[in-house]
Each structure stands twice: as C-alpha cells, then as structure tokens.
Symmetry: C2
Subunit: 406 residues, 2 copies
C-alpha cells in the first residue's frame, strides 16, 4: 500500500523514518506492506535520504491513484484543511498529527470521510506516542465516559516540574525549556494553554459525541504561577499541574477548561514529570484508567501516525466509526458555575483577622502561615460564589488556583 | 448483532449487565446494535433478570446461526477450549476474558480463527478494564516493542501495598485481602505468581510474535517477602512490587519472568497502589508508555469484553491480525544469565567483615545497618554469578530480591 506525506517537518520526517526503519517488523506483526511514494514540501532537501520522494506539487499526490493513504503533518489550518478535504474527497484515507486541524475541523472532515467511505484518523494529535484516541474510542467503547483529565502539554509540565523540583522561577524554567528545544521561541501556544485546549476539545468531542470547539473553552495558562504557589501547595501535599479537563454533568452539558490546578501527590497524575504527558479517563464501568508516555517528540508522534496508517491499510475497505457529531448548542456549561475547591494565597498582616476569614468564610483546611502570608484551601463550592466571597472579604489575594480531586 | 455468553459467573454476568445498561451509548458512539440472545451455564438462576436467556445446552448456541459473537467467560481450559474451538470452527467470532485459555491455547485458537476468517479477541484477559492488548497490537504497531513490565495481579499488589503503607505482615495482609474479596480462599494462583505469569505470556506472545507458554517461565511469588524487606527497601528509596516482565535480547531470545522486584519510588510503577494494575511498554520509537487502571472486577473486566464485541461487530467481515506465531525453540533465555542488581539482606554480627564483603565482592551501594543486620544493593551482574558469589561469601543471607531500573 502506497503512502504520501504532506509536510516534511519534524513529525513528517519522523514518519518517513519509522516507515523505513520498522518496515520488516510492521510486515511481521501487522501483515501489511507500507511503501512511501511521495513527500510534499515547498522546501528543498538536498542530500536527504528521502530526496527521491520529494515533490512541491500537491496535485501529483492527489491524482496518484496508487496512493491510498495520505499523512498530513504540516500543522495549522491553511493549506492543511484544503489538502486533507481534497484527499478524502478523492477516496484516500488521511492520517494526521495536526491537533489544530482536528480540534477545529474534526466534525467536517469526519463527515467527508464518512461520505466517501474512507478513514480520517488522528491518534497522534493528542499525547504524541501515547495511545489515547483508540483506547477512548475503541477499548472503552463499552463504557459511558464521564470525565477526562490530562496533562497534555509537555512544555508546561517541564516548566512546572523544574519549579517544583529545582525551585526554579517561571522565567528561568521557560528559558531552560527553550534552550532544550522543549519550548518554541514564541511559547504562547504552550504556556497560555492553547495547545492543551485543542487536545481536550478533541477528547471531549470523541467522548461526548458533539464537536466542542476551542473558542468556547475557558483557557488559562501557567504564566501567573509563582514559586511561592508551588512551594505552599507542596507543603500541603499537592503539586501544581496544567490540567486540561472535561466532565459530563447530570444536566447533559459538560464542563471543560484548561487551567493550572492542584493535584494530590498521591495521584498518578502527580507522578508525571518532565515532558511526559498523561490522560486520566473515568468510565462508568472501568473506573479510572490512565495512559502515560511521551506527549511529543519526532519519533514518538511519528509512531502514532504509523499505527494509524497500519490500521487504514489493514482495514482499507472498512471505515472506522467515530461517534463525533456536530456541535450542540449550549453544550458547554459556564465554568464559573462548576463546583471546585480553591487554593488561596493572601497577605496576612493581621493574622487573627485573616484566620477568622479563612475559617468562617471559606471553611479553610490546610492553613499555612509564613512571613506575613497565608495559604489555605477552601471548602468546595461554586467557583463564582467562592470568588465573590473572596472579593467581599478584605483579603489581599496573591494567588487563586483550582484544587482537583484526581 | 446477536451475542451469546458462555459462563454466567462474575465476568459473564457483568458482560450481560454492561450490554444492557450501555446499549444506547454503544449504539450512539459505535454505531452497532448488540443483542444478547443466550447465556450458557449449568447452574440455575431463578428470579434473575437474565433468566430468559439461560440455557444448559451448548449446542443451542453453537447451532444458532443468528449468534455471530460468542463471549467465553467460564475460565479454565476445560470445557472452554473445546467450546471456543467449536464456535470459531462454526464461523463465530469469539471474545474471551480467560487468561489461562489465551496463555495456553492462544496460537492454536488464533490459527483456527484465521482459517475461518473470524476474530478471536482477548483484551479482557490482561489488566481487566485497562486497554493493553489493543494498544500493544494496534497503537504501538509502528514500534518495535523490546520490553514490557507490568503489575498484573491486583491481589498481590494490594497485599504488598498494605505491607508498605500499613506495616502489616504478609499473613495479615493476605487475610485482609481475603476478607475484602480480593483474594480467593485458595490464593495460590495469585500469591505464587501464576496469574501474573499467564498474563505476561500473553503480552510476550503478542509483542514478540511467538507463543510463549507459561510452563517455560520462571515464576516466583511474594510469600517470602517480609516486613523487614519492605522497610529496608523503603529506606533505600524503593518499593517492592510483584513484576511480570519480558525483554527482547540482542541475541533474538527473550528474558521473561515473574518475581518480586525493587522499583524506584520515582517510577510510575511505584505509584500503583491497592488492587490497581499497570503495564509499562518500551518501544523503539515511543520510549516508555504506561497503561494504568483496575486490573480486575466485574464491570471493569466486562467493559473490556464489550469493547472487543463492539470491534467484532463493527468489523464483522474483517479479521483482526495478531502477529502471534507458533512457539520458537529455545526462544526463552535462561533467566539466571540475565543481568540484574540484587537487594541482599543478611545477618551482620561482625560488621567490619560484612562491610568488607559488601564492598569488595558486590560493589555495594545503599548500605543500611540495623540491629545486627545489613541490607545493600549489589552492582549489576549476571544473576547466577552474583548468587554464586553470595554462596561463596560467608554472609548469612536473609533475603535476596531483584532490583529493576524501571
């Protein structure tokens, strides 16, 4: 079966490498023969082992009837969306690692794929090399999934981890991540939570059956997290993680958000260090299931793409069904109505007065005092009510971070 | 699509329950309609909601052409093997949770399934509700898997956890596990490692492509682990887990064994508490991937069975390929030739002499002294050479446990 790759960047070149290096074991374990035929890129790649496959003309791939699986690893919406639509229309299977494309155009592209009887697959779009999409849509298909919480961005996890373990400041940790190639020069998409947001949108759409678009999802990054937050949380038995999470409510609506959050040190999510990712899925039958591994990286992500190619190749005449319908109106509930506990750090010049507020207004537990400051965890309540109480209290608030029960 | 269940025990009744309870969400998410038609059991179940499906006659199921998927949840080899073979021969898909059947007859049954163009699926046979089989055989198909290490038995993990956290003795922890229904009256299969052995055989056969039978696998249980072992290991930064593990060697052979082992507290495997299970898979492209969740239990295991039924139903005309070939001669290497470090606990009446042996013979690290005893970790070496050195030394050994680098 012939394969083409659109975009010879990090992931695309990784796919070419995996296809070549593991051809024999793929044949042996999966009974399919995969042959690379074309690679589309506008750049020149001289003296590259894959030079002979390169083309700058998309039509060459689109109109080559021998090519039945097209891999899209260009990223972004333009021209990826146009190219992918055309390939599906032509009856080619498409496999992508492009989370922005899937998060913004998943329903549309799955509809075209359904019409044409081909597959549109995207295991690599969430969690790099970690099996997440297939476990959620296949292995747990007997379940009603009601909650997902993930550490889905390796860059921010690396930064937070450096703050926790090495007591590095946020700017220093970000600099180190950039020096190590874990963060882009412009790190906005990572540290502001947009990358994690796209991924949780994909998972929510899959698990709950209606497309959830990134635009409607409350997204908060980690730029305001300080060393003091990390250390106070640590003394209380928590670590701070950037969590992307979604939950099906009794009302039929969902909560979905990306934000920093306190996670108990006893949780499996707390053990996810460095650039690793993890995704916790709660099903009515299985209880908690967690998948963990490298959430990014050339070969890890490429291997997830190749897993999908193999699936397309071994089931080429049969379409995979994803229960991913169109957007539902008012499906996403107001995040401020969600129930949560809050970690609050504040100035505490008048210790007795602050103590009284913490206890009486917030039923505080885990109260921690240090040099004129206090940190505590509130009782659970509606977020907006807790915040309104906080505004009315005379506390000089330094930080407010959500607390989870994962 | 009509389904029959062989064996109305814990898992079988769970499958009936999941099929009924989640019928609507299964239809919505996977586009298949599953209808229970018959349940085989020799016992009587009066006033049971599933009474109308019960039969004591296997032929009624075998000869019912409407039934296209048969679920086997009887356990054991007889008559499960006979029944499953006959169903496959008749062109029915079979889904099983029976690890003994898969570990001992997997290759044979997959061969019959291949001949007849039907599926033989067994996600529920390892790790209960945790997605493991499909991630290994599908998601990671682009990888060359070279190592697997799992906590695959919840009973022993519960017992060890009680010893670690609550300082309970082994007999007390076993009693508690029995009182909680986590351990059988006759706990041999769990505590001697046989259950974990069957599961690692299934994973090794899948990952390495040749049937590995339980008979040829070195299996050591947890009955000899003492509180002193657990505590000394804890002070050195390790927890003791019952690990089932296998590794592809450069020679093309594999190491495979079940035994207690020291795992660093920093490892994700160390965070697996209570009756939970986890499986770490090392691929050449992905690096470490870990799947975690409830390794047993009625509904968790049943949900894995139902996931396989859905897969059979949505791909009924297409066989899933498993790269699971027949046994290879001399495929399993002598475990004593494997390289490992050892945790050694010994009497130390003569501290100076013992210190000298620990350092000079074993290049010991982490040396821990207490009331006339010593515990230390040796340098890595061939297991048989380390043990032969130990025999020649004058140490009065109390415990020897392998140390891992997971």
């Amino acid at each position: 079966m012939y394969v083409a790759i659109l975009g010879f960047g990090v992931v695309g070149s990784g796919v070419a490498e995996v296809l070549e290096k593991n051809a024999a074991s793929i044949k042996e374990n999966s009974n399919v023969e995969l042959k690379l035929k074309k690679i589309l890129d506008i750049r020149d790649f001289e003296n590259n082992p894959f030079e002979k496959y390169m083309t700058k003309n998309f039509e060459e791939i689109l109109n080559d009837d021998e090519i039945s699986v097209v891999v899209e690893t260009m990223g972004g919406i333009n021209p990826a969306y146009d190219f992918v639509s055309k390939c599906l229309e032509k009856g080619k299977h498409v496999v992508t690692s492009n989370k922005e494309l899937v998060a913004k155009k998943g329903f549309e592209l799955l509809s075209v794929a359904r019409e044409k009887g081909v597959n549109f697959m995207f295991e690599a779009s969430v969690g790099g090399g970690i099996p997440i999409i297939r476990p959620i849509s296949r292995c747990l298909a007997g379940n009603k999934i009601y909650e997902i919480a993930g550490i889905l961005n390796g860059t921010t996890n690396f930064i937070l981890n450096k703050m926790i373990v090495d007591k590095m400041s946020f700017p220093d940790a970000l600099k180190l991540a950039q020096d190590n190639g874990y963060a882009e020069k412009d790190p906005t998409a990572d540290i502001e939570g947009h990358d994690a947001c796209r991924k949780i949108c994909i998972l929510a759409s899959l698990a709950f059956g209606s497309h959830v678009y990134p635009d409607g999802v409350y997204t908060e990054g980690i730029t305001k997290i300080t060393l003091d937050d990390v250390q106070s949380a640590g003394e209380m038995g928590y670590v701070i993680k950037l969590l992307a999470r979604t939950k099906l409510l009794d009302s039929g609506k969902i909560n979905i958000m990306v934000s920093p959050a306190l996670v108990s040190k006893d949780s499996m999510l707390a053990g996810v260090n460095g650039v690793y990712n993890a995704c916790l899925v709660r099903g009515d039958m299985t209880g908690d299931v967690l998948m963990y591994g490298k959430g990014a990286g050339k070969l890890a992500t490429a291997s997830a793409v190749v897993g999908d190619i193999i699936d397309c190749a071994s089931n080429s005449e049969k379409r995979k069904f994803f229960g991913w319908g169109q957007e539902k109106k008012d499906f996403v509930a107001d995040y401020k109505e969600a129930s949560t506990a809050l970690f609050i750090r504040a100035k505490a010049a008048d210790k007795a007065a602050v103590h009284k507020i913490a206890l009486e207004a917030f039923g505080a537990s885990n109260i921690l005092w240090s040099d004129g400051e206090v940190a505590f965890i509130t009782e659970e309540g509606k977020e907006k009510e807790l915040l309104s109480k906080l505004e009315k209290s005379n506390l000089e608030t330094l930080s407010v971070i959500r607390v989870t029960d994962y």
